[in-house]
């Protein structure tokens, strides 16, 4: 056990925590028993305070692969393995992750706890949609297996439940068959918000779709965007020179971001300049090419610690979803952000497909994610945005959250009381709790 200074990806908030590590099955229960209360923690890639607590149980050294059925595409592993390691194993065998978020540096346990989504949500749903079964150690030390068929309540409350039902030890999930490790990519520039919304609809059958959107642009180019679409390239679609090794892994290269940028570097001028360059780099209306999966899914992973670009005070990522009919809400929020001049380099817009779940974030509609450097007055502004999100029937993503009020969570998630009941059943004394779960009154 060691006192460590920890924070998640947003570098806000920062706290001292006693960190426990384990590698072996026989250690888990003992560590849990000795702990007063804790939250399971993987690679710390959620953004806010979800995996922060006075004590943490870190799963990173519990990272063995258990089985990989290369015929049926079923993968089973311990919860601390990260997605980048899984890709190295499955891609050369012709399989891919069924769902992946924008970073590959998250653990499988974290993928379940946040029930992560990717650019294919409208087609394939979120990560939990592909789980065959999983095993947890509950707060009382007992081991329980759950799946969509057995102990359904535990399964539902664990998917997107931010680690509060127990410590996930083992996950078995289905993979996606691929012929090549490449993506056939199409990028289309949209002049404004109406056009990007129309394009999302036009390309709704595309497997992967996401848009980068300029939140600071006003006037007729309000909401200008670049829509990025992708399909797994088939063997015949590859250029000749790539056909020799169609399942090749991308080379490992990354640029470290060695220090925190001073906070003043990010201001509305530099963000506007970045957006101008980012939008302007696509000269043509439409670009079609074949790229490795790495730059397509994980463009930011190439810059290790890019979060330091927001300075020492850190940042919060704000991600909400609004129902499809609430386009006006999206416009209103974008206007408020651009008026405030507090934008981020990258704001990401995506259309979610249908999803009914207990506590997972995705539901049908528009989801927008953007970063805000922590500044005076930011949280008041975000409280105002929360009200707009709620007014239009939307909600916020707990994995990104570091500051939402409990009422906002309650208003956004209609089955919250049921979720709380299940937590209290499996974790009755609040042995498993985080700074976030206390703040959101889930465990207090």
């Amino acid at each position: 056990m060691a006192q460590k200074t920890i924070s998640n990806w947003g570098n806000y908030p920062v706290m001292q925590s006693d960190e426990h590590c384990f590698s072996f099955d026989d250690q888990v229960q003992k560590i849990m028993e000795q702990s007063e209360y804790f939250i399971p923690r993987g690679n710390g890639r959620c953004y806010g305070d979800a995996s922060l607590s006075k004590e943490t149980i870190n799963t990173l050294k519990y990272d063995n692969v258990i089985s990989f059925d290369t015929k049926e595409g079923i993968f089973e592993c311990q919860s601390g393995i990260t997605l980048d390691k899984i890709l190295e194993i499955i891609v050369p065998k012709g399989w891919f992750l069924p769902v992946t978020p924008g970073t590959k540096f998250i653990t499988v346990g974290g993928a379940v706890g946040s029930d992560v989504h990717g650019k294919n949500h409208h087609v394939d749903g979120s990560f939990s949609n592909h789980i065959v079964e999983m095993e947890l150690v509950l707060a009382n030390g007992s081991i329980m297996v759950c799946s969509p068929e057995i102990h359904t309540d535990l399964f539902e409350a664990t998917c997107g439940g931010m680690g509060l039902t127990g410590l996930i030890t083992r996950v078995k999930f289905r993979l996606k068959k691929i012929e090549t490790s490449y993506i056939k990519q199409k990028q289309i520039k949209a002049e404004n918000l109406d056009e990007i919304i129309r394009l999302f609809d036009e390309y709704k059958n595309s497997t992967y779709s996401v848009a980068w959107i300029d939140c600071l642009k006003k006037g007729e180019h309000f909401g200008r965007s670049i829509l990025i679409l992708g399909e797994h390239a088939t063997l015949s679609e590859l250029p000749e020179k790539l056909k020799a090794d169609p399942l090749k892994l991308p080379p490992k290269k990354s640029i470290p971001f060695p220090f925190n940028l001073p906070s003043w570097v990010l201001n509305s001028f530099t963000v506007k300049l970045f957006n101008f360059l980012y939008y302007g780099k696509n000269f043509k209306k439409e670009i079609n090419n074949v790229v490795s999966y790495e730059p397509f899914f994980y463009p930011l992973d190439a810059i290790l610690n890019w979060n330091r670009g927001y300075g020492k005070k850190g940042f919060v990522q704000y991600q909400f979803v609004l129902p499809l009919q609430a386009k006006q809400g999206l416009i209103e929020i974008l206007h408020r952000i651009s008026d405030k001049g507090l934008g981020s380099f990258l704001a990401v817009l995506k259309v979610f497909g249908k999803q009914e779940s207990l506590i997972s974030f995705p539901k049908e509609g528009y989801t927008l994610a953007l970063d805000f450097p922590v500044r005076d007055g930011l949280f008041d502004f975000l409280d105002e945005l929360d009200q707009v999100v709620l007014q239009y029937g939307g909600r916020l993503y707990m994995s990104k959250d570091a500051r939402m009020k409990p009422d906002v969570l309650k208003a956004g998630y209609p089955r919250l009381e049921e979720f709380k009941r299940i937590i209290h059943q499996y974790n009755p004394k609040g042995k498993i709790r985080s700074v976030q779960s206390d703040r959101l009154e889930l465990t207090t």
């Binding site: 056990m1 060691a2 590698s23 072996f24 050294k61 063995n64 692969v65 194993i89």
Partner: protein
């Protein structure tokens, strides 16, 4: 393909080394006191890298069992990496002989016992590589850590002598002095991040040292210079320091 035997395979460093060597195509033999704990890693290596991987019971301090343990292995390994070791509080060990002897036996006596047996076999086969994970703590005894340090110093000297002898039989010996490494053994210590290596860096260093037949390797380059300085402080000055 050649086979690598890892002694003390439940340690974090050994896990990284086992995977790194398996990724290069080596078959792996994992050996540790609690072989049940090796089963998940054994499965992991088999699934990830498609190499043969076996798990074996081995207690570094049960010297009498070492001969039978080694001769029960089939095939015989081509590379042996001695990773096991044990560190506990120095002051406690000064007052408690069981603790002190545990440190001496794990870090020195046990290693000598098993590597004598391995060395004999390799010398007869006129091939093979032996890697010993020693420690920078063995370079000079410090008040905070001299029981562990002196055992590692013994081990470092042993490896040096073994390398000298084995050279003439075509066997290579590597001494590794990792410096601070982020592992279970050091979990309670507040290590300076810049000076601390992760287990993958150790594994990569070991793999390279085997491939390039290096003799003495540090994991982070500056440790060599830090230790050179520490070694050269006059004893009259050194003894007054609180190190």
């Amino acid at each position: 393909m050649a086979t690598v035997l890892l002694l003390g395979a439940t340690s974090d460093m050994a896990v990284a080394m086992a995977r790194t060597m398996a990724a290069k195509g080596y078959d792996i033999q994992l050996a540790a006191r609690n072989s049940d704990r090796l089963k998940p890693l054994q499965g992991d290596i088999t699934v990830r890298y498609g190499v043969n991987c076996t798990a074996h019971e081995f207690d570094a301090t049960a010297f009498a069992t070492h001969h039978d343990f080694y001769y029960s292995l089939t095939p015989k390994p081509d590379i042996v990496i001695c990773v096991f070791g044990y560190m506990s509080d120095n002051d406690a060990a000064c007052k408690n002989w069981d603790e002190a002897s545990k440190m001496i036996n794990s870090n020195y006596t046990g290693a000598v016992s098993i590597l004598n047996i391995v060395g004999e076999d390799f010398a007869e086969r006129k091939s093979g590589t032996i890697v010993g994970i020693s420690s920078v703590a063995g370079v000079r005894g410090r008040q905070s850590n001299y029981i562990y340090g002196s055992a590692k110093a013994g081990f470092t000297a042993y490896l040096s002598g073994l390398r000298n002898k084995m050279y003439h039989c075509g066997v290579h010996v590597v001494s590794v002095l990792p410096g601070f490494v982020d592992t279970k053994m050091t979990a309670g210590l507040n290590l300076p991040p810049l000076l601390t290596a992760n287990t993958q860096q150790v594994a990569d260093t070991v793999e390279k040292a085997i491939r390039k037949k290096q003799n003495i390797v540090y994991v982070k380059w500056f440790w060599k210079w830090i230790m050179t300085i520490i070694k050269n402080i006059p004893e009259n000055v050194f003894k007054k320091k609180k190190l």
